[in-house]
Subunit: 241 residues, 2 copies
């Protein structure tokens, strides 16, 4: 597999949005007229000849975008809107229908008290039908920035307000069929500043926990929400191996 | 908030399934006949009196499950099936409709070569409409165990087979409206053992990367799939703060 080793990974910032440069675009830009694909190389991976940023020819794996032939929307599901895309596999040329959930961006907050304890919440979750231990967060409202959404969600769900805010970037909750991102924020110096302001769809208990308790809760499975773990991985060493 | 500090968090194993004991169940089991709720305590959190495992009375926050009044299914979306649940908020008694996506479980694999490098894949993803750098994984087929699915997905997507397999537990991809889990596995001693076996919906390039390259890819946003990050957090220290 040595000849299929990667080029340098494209950098586009920890909060990289879909419009940023990705590998296949770079390949296309670097390709010279007349340069051809070498297909079926290695374990079936597409490989093409391209020039590195230093101008030398290098062989690197590449994957092409799948052209979208047509789209139609399904029933609005409130938390997202399904869209059926007819797409074409560039490897086999086969066309097939794939569902994409058009989903608003989300935000969540790793909030530390002045004593360096974490502000956590418990709420009943309809998907898993159990009470989940999580960090505060929610939907980014139309017109809202991720930052202002983070400040609002922390206050509404916990009654806490924080002195210092730092972006922790974002993740794609599920690139396979969701088009949204979840933005992570660090809030420091968080102190009780008022009452919760819960909407009719919420019933939330606030708990302040030590970092050791939170790490143990992740290990035990008491915290199992993937997007809470990706946010907390910015401040906790979660290695088990 | 001192009086709202948590009891010990329930332990139910790192691969805890929804049927395992959770906080509200524990409360119900520990509650004595005639013991009552104290509501609206702290920042609006529900608090109830219960006995700790040592038999002492303690006050701890609790959140009640939301009764499901009725359910109906929406259009099958292949990757999941939406179910509309009429639920009742135990805080306000208000009834409301919430969507739950009935979703099969997923699996993904942190695969190390004998040289302690990671077996990564690149594929075009329809949700984010970009080529994503990920770890191997996919849907658990009906009748398949998470373990057998992990072994199969590694071989099909990369052509690699591994000498040693270890469970890394699981996460809930989104407890708010998905009922499934994503199971993480560690595969060690992974070596090329055959060709990829891609289905018509896949076009995948394999890349072997150092742990340093993978950590940099997470930092830069080149790896942004949340479920890959939760799996990789078992073997990499991802702290940025």
């Amino acid at each position: 597999m040595d000849e299929a080793r990667p080029l340098l990974i494209e950098r586009h910032g920890i909060d990289g949005r879909p419009h940023t440069v990705f590998a296949a675009d770079t390949d296309a830009q670097a390709r010279q007229p007349g340069e051809s694909f070498l297909q079926g190389h290695g374990h079936g991976a597409h490989v093409m000849r391209e020039r590195s940023s230093r101008g030398k020819d290098m062989t690197a794996p590449t994957i092409q975008p799948w052209p979208r032939i047509a789209s139609r929307h399904g029933e609005d599901l409130h938390v997202f809107r399904p869209r059926w895309d007819m797409v074409q596999n560039p490897r086999t040329r086969a066309q097939m229908e794939r569902v994409v959930c058009e989903t608003p961006d989300w935000v969540n907050v790793v909030a530390f008290t002045p004593e360096r304890e974490l502000v956590m919440i418990r709420q009943y979750r309809f998907g898993t039908e159990r009470v989940e231990l999580e960090i505060p967060g929610g939907l980014i409202d139309p017109g809202e920035t991720p930052e202002s959404s983070a400040v609002r969600e922390l206050e509404e769900e916990t009654g806490y307000a924080a002195a210092r805010w730092t972006s922790l970037g974002s993740v794609a909750p599920n690139p396979a069929y969701q088009d949204n991102r979840c933005w992570h924020f660090l809030a420091e110096g968080a102190v009780p500043a008022g009452d919760q302001d819960l909407d009719p769809g919420e019933d939330i208990a606030v708990e302040v926990m030590s970092t050791e308790q939170v790490m143990e809760a992740i290990r035990s499975g008491a915290i199992s929400h993937a997007l809470c773990i990706t946010a907390l991985s910015h401040v906790l060493d979660l290695r088990s191996q």
